[in-house]
Amino acid sequence: MRKKTGVFVCHCGINIAGTVDVKKVAGDLSKHPGVDFSEDYVYMCSDPGQNMIIDAIKEKKLDNVVVACCSPTLHETTFRNAAKAAGINDFQCEIANIREQCSWVHKDMDKATAKATKLTRSAVEKVRQNESLDPISIPVTRRALVIGGGIAGIQAALDIANTGYEVILVERNPSIGGHMIQLSETFPTLDCSQCILTPKMVEVSKHPKIKLMTYSEIQDISGYVGNFRVKILKKPTYVDPDKCTLCDECTKVCPVVMTNEFDLGLTGRKAIYIPFPQAIPATFTLDIKGCPGLVPIACGKCADVCEPKAIDYDMKAQIIEEEVGAIIVATGYDLYEKENLSEYGYGKYPDVLDGLQFERLCSASGPTQGKVLRPSDHKEPKEVVFIQCAGSRDPELHCAYCSKICCMYTAKHAMLYKHHVHDGQAYIFYIDIRSGGKGYEEFVQRAVEEDDVVYLRGKVSKIFEEQGKIKVWGVDTLSGKDIEIDADMVVLATAMRPSQGAAELAKKLKIAMDKDGFLAEAHPKLRPVESVTSGMFLAGAAQAPKDIPEAVAQASGAAAKAISILSQERLFHSPMVAKVSLNLCTGCGMCVDVCPYEALSLKDGKAEVNEVLCEGCGTCQATCLRAAINVKNTTPSQVHEMIRASLGG
């Protein structure tokens, strides 16, 4: 059955007609094989213009139409709607751009006209092979999953929950709060970190729309935007939170002492423990790594003293399956591993600390109740050296990137130190000071002026212990002088790394990572909170080093993106997606390799398209050696005909 094509050439006033002989174009096209109707009109986008198209389609029983006019970015939708109104599928309408790409850029009438004719022919050849397509519609599970219970995760969860959608917040540690809850005070306002965070943590635990799952990890994720299936592994705490009254009797009898992660090894804790007093959920956890054995014969002291019988040695790990429509990944950061920084004596000398350890020392709830004391001998340090960029901005040996927050927190540390030890002296070795941010520069100046912190521009060359002192050799590149300081304590602003385990998680989620292992955003400029996989969003330091306000801002951004999905009952997706010719596909998987969206996979030795994930870019089409995969409505066959038409051959 031969297809009937209609062509409509727009004058656009004189915008086109000024340099293109529109009547001639319409005339030539009327002779083009397969064209049954060809007319021109002064303003096609006007109502009479559109009606002309609609009537022609109805009267001449046209199968498809080409409108030769301005750029498709302007009126493609207009004319496709017109086509629809006339009862044909919107993809049966194509635009030939004879204004932006022709009349406006040329002066010679004959040549411009000839070109306009070719452009229109090309569009005719294309539309003739267009398939009628309807948008792909996907139902949405209107719940969200947030992975990571740090400040970013908490913020995102609350934002979503407060708009009324259910949120599952998964945290692998016994309590939410992340690294922020370990901090003493925050720059540049020096307000107490716990004071501002704990209310949010409580809000999470009390929120009717938030299902909090601590001590849990993502085991597997399948599905696609709007319809993810998540398997969550809930590790046993051996303590029933509902029964536990926080009487703390169990820790008294527990014989096992282990290092306390919360204080970064500065103190110890028992095998059964509560991470910190304000932990959410407020309950104890029995760490089997340390527990002699979950049987009364082995020990069982805690169970004996537990009045409410909250301790249950038979508690088993559970796998909980959930369905969600959107996912926010906020897995945060970890500090650069000690062993990588041995040149600074980090991990070797007890009085060489990292930033977080120093935060604990300053924290009122910390191991020293807020007194700054040396871990080695609990003396008050009189000279403290702070070293910035410990591991950052060092492409040769360590991380190439800047960890961004160190300049600020080091200034803060120096200040806090002075506030605790008034007669002490703080030195800071730095490469540059990066204090972009509201009130940041002023904050650094305050450190220098009010707390007379000595900033030394240069790197530290050697650190070693000598009769109870830590000798720090360095150079001040501004004065050129060698510097030698007998410090009592050294604090390293160690680099930020993607939190450990992030890589495995990224694999499960099928979201890309950048060269440093941080999660990759879909577009560095225009889609900074979206991951490459649609329906998955990024928040906080998991995507790149960030300070608290930035993490919170991105979390809210990610939440908004997630809500934009959850707020709809169905998602609609462009139907111009790849299609596999099974009889040609040999299952070599090259298309799978190149697909930017994980939309392709191999099933029974053939490529399979997940139409929901496919964006129709066609990279697979150009890669396939067997012409076995084509994007609907831009098939090689169509391009082939367009090439012919473009060359008049």
Binding site: E100, K111, K115, G616, C617, T619, Q621, T634, V639, L647
Partner: protein
């Protein structure tokens, strides 16, 4: 004769950057020779070597493939695959002895109407002295 000759160029423009760039050239009323017939594709990564050979086979005097700058691809990495594929096509065409001026690739962003104009003008100027492309053109 050479003056009379008007080269016929097929340009594969990616929808998001280069085609938008050519639109900008239009909106800004920049002028360039009418020898190019653009074919808009979704991504430079979707331009198969076959399209290029086919264009020359159908008598194109020059072929241009234009996409987003590295890092700007609307589809994240399509233009990186294009870059590799096109490099090979270019080497092959030169190896069999096609004038190397006849095939080129460019990065044109949506903001680079001027660059697009320049690229087309230069292309046409470079092709005129070469005369018609008869080497790969279908002769039967």
């Amino acid at each position: 004769m050479a003056e009379k000759f008007e080269p016929r160029i097929v340009a594969f423009l990616c929808k998001w950057c280069s085609s938008a760039g050519s639109d900008l050239a239009g909106v800004s009323r920049m002028q360039y020779p009418p020898n190019v017939i653009p074919i808009t594709v979704m991504c430079s990564g979707s331009v198969s070597p076959l399209y290029i050979f086919d264009a020359f086979n159908k008598g194109a005097d020059g072929v241009l493939v234009s996409g987003c700058h590295p890092g700007d691809c609307h589809y994240i990495k399509g233009n990186y695959y294009a870059r590799r594929r096109i490099a090979l096509v270019k080497e092959l065409l030169e190896f069999i002895g096609l004038e190397q001026k006849r095939f080129r690739m460019s990065w044109v962003s949506a903001a680079e109407g001027t660059k697009y104009t320049q690229i087309i003008s230069d292309f046409v100027e470079d092709l005129k002295p070469l005369g018609p492309q008869t080497k790969l053109r279908r002769k039967i």
